[in-house]
Symmetry: C2
Subunit: 458 residues, 2 copies
């Protein structure tokens, strides 16, 4: 079938929602490095991780050989509330750009959390309930992950405690109310409820917080409260595993019409969306079956792939969490205050870090005014008001499509549209009022941050 006869939106049937997640680690020759105990700096096994994570999720975290892992029926039922997510052909954007490129996006925003985060939230809440726990704790940045976990917890009837990065808590108070509507408790981080929160507040008075700091607080509460475990919305191997429903559905939809993308683009904060989107394609690339150009897009203000170091680092500011080998800016890196939206984590998924290090994918950084220009252009022709995070991928997709316009190449571009911007209106208002600015950290700032990297000989 010609790519001119593709529907605007390709929906799979509910039977075609994946029955298994795909574990890309099974096809990686160089496996991602193991997590290390922050006290002993030794690799952590199942028992070491039990105080923090649910048992079944630890198994998934450590399993780097099983290629396919079954999705429990109850989770597939939940997925049916908002999946399959549509694969959209961006006809109107193509027309507006005058490009010969064919642009597709996998849209994950048609649910109340407003993003793909729900795909992993329901899994982690499910296994917590299966283990007989009372509840879960977590951090949230822009609030998408916290909202997703609140929704999943409400659905399953377990408790949910969210530590929300203070700058987001203040700039995006409305997300707090959505989480409360779903029955979660929401605390701005750093708080005075935890040891690490009090310490950070004392050392950095007036801090606007960071994901790394909120993680420390949520982990502290989980390990000190009977019947609770900590769950995380990105970075971890298990999260990328759950998010492969994005890529598996996207690939199934493309395969149905015989379409092979040339370029695959995703925004990258901790890597959950990008990893989920690209995994099935990356699997083919790793097995030498097909080749794809795979591009991670990150903010110039938080450039972990493009300017970070590939090293062991703490996952959190408080240095209580396991260490991961990843591209990192240093665990006390905090993006400048003018940075809007998410993608503000100092590190990057160990899986993606290894793949990037081994040359299987590229990374680029973009500045936020250029990102919002792309967001506005996209919104006006495609109808969807995109999340700032997702708009990083839109920026790159538009740039690639414009290159095709110059060269005349009819490339097929696939990108991940992770969510909607309905709760990012403060940032849009700044952009509308011409008050948005860019910031790129200096080399000196980064060197200072790198100086906090732990010395690890492994």
């Amino acid at each position: 079938m010609s790519q001119n006869n593709i529907p605007y939106k390709i929906y799979l049937s509910e039977d075609e929602i994946p029955k298994q997640w795909y574990n890309v680690r099974a096809d990686m020759k160089n496996k991602p490095a193991p997590l290390l105990n922050p006290a002993t700096l030794q690799p952590m096994g199942f028992d070491d991780l039990r105080p923090v994570f649910c048992d079944e999720l630890i198994k998934q975290e450590l399993d780097d050989t099983t290629a396919y892992i079954d999705i429990p029926d109850e989770i597939r039922s939940f997925y049916k509330m908002y999946r399959p997510a549509p694969l959209v052909r961006a006809y109107c954007l193509e027309k507006a750009l005058g490009t010969p490129a064919k642009i597709y996006y996998k849209f994950e925003g048609n649910n109340t959390s407003g993003s793909h985060k729900l795909n992993s939230a329901i899994v982690q809440a499910y296994y917590a309930k299966q283990q007989g726990l009372k509840g879960v704790t977590t951090e949230t940045g822009a609030g998408q992950w916290g909202t997703a976990l609140s929704m999943a917890s409400a659905y399953l009837g377990i408790d949910c405690k969210v530590y929300m990065v203070k700058v987001s808590y203040e700039q995006k108070p409305f997300r707090r109310e959505v989480m409360r509507t779903y029955g979660a408790s929401v605390t701005p981080s750093p708080s005075m409820d935890t040891e690490i929160g009090r310490k950070i507040n004392a050392e950095h008075p007036g801090t606007t917080g960071s994901l790394g700091c909120a993680i420390s607080e949520a982990v502290e509460v989980a390990t000190k409260t009977e019947g609770y475990r900590y769950v995380l919305g990105s970075v971890l191997n298990q999260v990328l595993l759950h998010q492969t429903v994005i890529g598996l559905e996207a690939k199934a939809a493309l395969d149905k019409y015989g379409i092979t993308p040339d370029i695959i683009i995703g925004c990258a904060g901790g890597g959950s969306n990008l990893g989920g989107l690209i995994s099935p394609f990356m699997g083919e690339k790793l097995r030498g079956e097909k080749d794809y150009q795979i591009i991670a897009i990150e903010p110039a203000s938080c450039p972990s792939f493009t300017r970070g170091k590939f090293a062991y680092d703490f996952c959190d500011t408080g240095m209580v969490c396991p260490l991961a080998k990843m591209y990192t800016l240093g665990s006390n890196f905090i993006p400048s205050a003018n940075h809007a939206g998410g993608l503000r984590y100092h590190g990057m998924s160990p899986i993606l870090s290894q793949l990037y290090h081994d040359g299987y994918m590229e990374a680029r950084s973009v500045e936020q005014t250029a990102v919002f220009e792309a967001a506005e252009q996209f919104a006006r022709v495609e109808g969807i008001l995109p999340a700032p995070e997702s708009s990083h991928a839109i920026r790159a997709a538009i740039d690639e499509a414009l290159k095709c316009k110059e060269t005349g190449e009819e490339k097929t571009i696939l990108f991940g549209l992770t969510g909607t911007g309905y709760f990012d209106i403060v940032a849009y208002q700044k952009f509308n009022d011409g008050e948005m600015s860019d910031y790129i950290p200096t080399d000196e700032e980064l060197e200072k941050s790198f100086a906090t990297l732990p010395k690890v000989n492994i």
Copy 2:
């Protein structure tokens, strides 16, 4: 097929998006009464309406005999950006209620305007462009209609001027930014830009505005500005016509699985969603082919069906618009300040008013705390955070399902979920904080308002 084997979401294919709107007036024995000229009190014809509305839309407004009207291809292309809208089986809500009832809802919230309003906005903007106009003016209440018209205007490249009810402009400033992102100008109403705005501000200092007043302003600007026409998001016959895509898709999806609803429920403000949803079913009822229980749900604080008079009244506060025969609370009725969300119009669609008057449908009013209780329950199990407007229908659907639980009846309930509540978080916060209150206008208040009804002998 058993109703236990229905998917969670029934999606039609893009080919199945309706190719014609259905004009229920063609099947009505008692036609809705004609619009009257506010100066002469005589029925208005095509030429009388030309200063206010686009030509093609006037034809649709006046046509009460043609049963099916073709949808232009360019409008169907736009529809494909967010349609077909899913018909959802509320399995999780049914389970939570423990009801033998089968509950379905037609979900119109999967677009950035957050509601069904986009279905008519694109049509009205399209015909304005076809007529070579520069732009359109309109009013908006909660902001859904204004956002929808901004999106449609941006897509087609025409100008859009929105007068927004002041209380919504202040309580929901984020909608303003969405409209601005789509390039619209947004003015709080009553403003000082128009004669009628200045008059109302002088007579009612500190007024929070009303839809009726914003309509007056938008009409004044349209009639006094070269190349502009006025467009309206509800009430008018043409709007109900456009919105029949909701009911036509819902019916096609149900027919595909051999399902016949027993009860059809919709929220009613000006009647656009309700009229659109029920029209194809009402057509069968009017032709004596089938019977359905059809229920309009309105706020107890703005009870035009249940406590209004069926009489000719002004459509706007400024008394510059045509008069319509409808259920009305009087054109200067303004809901109490504690009323959250939309559904605040003083009148009701003349088509629906006639059908209600002739006994083809029922109406009920509900109080807003009960509405938000239903909204929260629905959100937690069905995942979607509903608009307050839509939650009126949820309240009634839950009540009917609970009746079935008592009687053991396995009724099939269809309701319209018009949109999402992402921009109604101030109201949700009030509810979460236990600060939401109810208000029912007294008989004396209504009598005072009825006293302003014009004397019309027709």
